[in-house]
Amino acid sequence: MNALLQVDGLTRRFGGLIAVNNVSFEVATGEIFGLIGPNGAGKTTLFNLITGLTPPGSGHLRYKGADITAAKPHQIAARGIARTFQNIRLFSGLSALDNIRIARHVHTHTGTLAGVLRTPAARREERAVRERALELLRLVHLEQRADEAVGGFSYGDQRRLEIVRALALAPELLLLDEPGAGMNTNEKAALSDFIRHIREQFNLTIVLIEHHVPLVMGLCDRIAVLNFGELIALGSPAQVQNDPAVIEAYLGE
């Protein structure tokens, strides 16, 4: 397989608790990869490890062949890995437009002085950033509310906005942490379509944490199942659905 992301023996402890225990898998370029498991299985911790928010106790991470195990979050973002958060972390006091424009930071270069003086190059870049941001807002029908503070947006709009903010990073790998949380069945179906759409449009590889098993089964090419920090199953949705270990893990749900 053409592996974009390689997770190799990743382990993370918090005090006496093992949150992620020797987890290894690979994510192929272009696939939608699901990560499921009961609450507390270590899925978000795994995301935090991949995006540099927490350092692993042991193990390695490779992205496009390069070792990113010790990379910091902003370096990870610069390499082309973007994420959303389980508890939506938009910049709620800022406008929708600003939220997106901020994510263009790594791909722009205007320095402090150039920005203050508004040099021709700076103004060109500003226009380009604004264009791009408005495009992305159009994708989720929020262009009309570009200058509104996002704190006042509906839950669904905020979730979608967080996804396009991540897209502004022009990533190759997109990590979505429970993007469908709090949505009803219709909204989840629309979200599924949206995720498929952006994979096509932006040539993305997507890893998705999701609690709602049907959403995952219909959307993902492959699924990894975590329980108590360990990888207990990995395969196609059909394989995983019928795996006895998985069924047992979810019986407690």
Binding site: F14, T44, N48, L53, F85, Q86
Partner: protein, 315 residues
């Protein structure tokens, strides 16, 4: 320096350190419950000293609104100290009601509460100045009947201590002991520790956080007020601002011991007291900077201090 002098300085340091400890305990109790630093603590420290002065029936000086006034009665020093502490505790509760509670109920950023407490501190200290002026005051006849110094030496080796420092140390130790008993042997004290440890679970267990917060501010104010009186006893009340400078050094104790750690406040206080006492006389001008240098070193290399908790951020 010779050994006898060294010991003398260490013991001096312990005495001052014990006051730092009490003062820092006031900071740390509030931090452990609310996660904020109450800058008004140094103003309450100052108030405690002035309350005690007034309760002794002493007369105020020539400046300020209350110039030349005195209470119609005068309590003996030990009672006045207690009274000053209790009044200071009351002030602590008042500060909580006016400045902190509304912000807390709003879920405001802790830094906003810190700023508000700074405002309270500035207002209180300057109200004191407005009322009684900026003169120095000392407690009249506080230690009447006691000799100016005591020899604590053993086996023929002299260890001369200013009586004042011995008295301060004893009072501090009594207060600490009382606090330990309160924390470990009363329902309220144990509840306080529970809330400090884990506020969410504590409230789930039905512990009345609001009332506990009031109690914490009262105790904190009491400790601050006592500390103020003790420092006033040791070096005289130099003016309404004497609490601010002391208060800043108290922050160093808080950080060294670890924000939120009760034993840390004690250890940190004694440690800084001793280190300051050991500063050689030719460098005495730099004594004030010692605490802050320690504060910076701790913050740069071990922000959780000696006994504090490391905070894990939830994503």
């Amino acid at each position: 320096m010779n050994l006898a002098l060294f010991f003398q300085q260490v013991v001096n340091g312990l005495a001052i350190g014990s006051v730092y400890a009490i003062f820092a305990l006031g900071y740390t109790l509030i931090f452990s419950i609310l996660g904020i630093i109450n800058f008004a603590h140094s103003a309450i420290f100052t108030l405690g000293a002035y309350f005690t002065y007034a309760l002794m029936g002493a007369r105020f000086g020539f400046n300020g609104l209350l110039a030349q006034t005195a209470l119609p009665f005068g309590l003996p020093f030990p009672l006045a100290v207690l009274g000053g502490g209790l009044l200071a505790g009351g002030m602590g509760v008042l500060v909580e009601r006016i400045a902190f509670r509304p912000l807390r109920n709003r879920g405001a950023d802790p830094l906003l509460m810190l700023v508000s407490s700074l405002g309270v501190a500035v207002a209180l200290v300057n109200i004191i100045q407005y009322l009684v002026g900026a003169e120095a005051y000392s407690y009249p006849n506080a230690l009447a009947g006691l000799p100016p110094s005591i020899n604590l030496g053993v086996g023929g080796v002299p260890l001369i201590m200013r009586t004042v420092l011995v008295v301060i140390f004893i009072i501090s130790m009594l207060i600490l002991f009382a606090l330990m008993r309160l924390m470990n042997h009363t329902k309220a004290g144990k509840a306080l520790q529970a809330v400090a440890e884990d506020p969410v679970t504590a409230s789930l267990l039905g512990i009345n956080t609001d009332r506990l917060i009031l109690l914490t501010f009262f105790i904190s104010g009491f400790l601050g007020g006592i500390a103020g009186t003790l420092v006033g006893l040791s070096v005289t009340i130099t003016g309404p601002y004497f609490g601010i400078t002391f208060g800043l050094r108290g922050l160093a104790v808080l950080v060294l011991g670890g924000l939120g750690s009760i034993p840390g406040a004690v250890v940190g206080g004694l440690a800084i007291g001793i280190v300051e006492a050991l500063v050689p006389p030719d460098l005495s001008g730099y004594k004030d900077a010692v605490a802050f240098a320690i504060l910076l070193i701790v913050l740069f290399f071990r922000p959780q201090g000696l006994l504090g908790r490391t905070f894990i951020q939830k994503v």
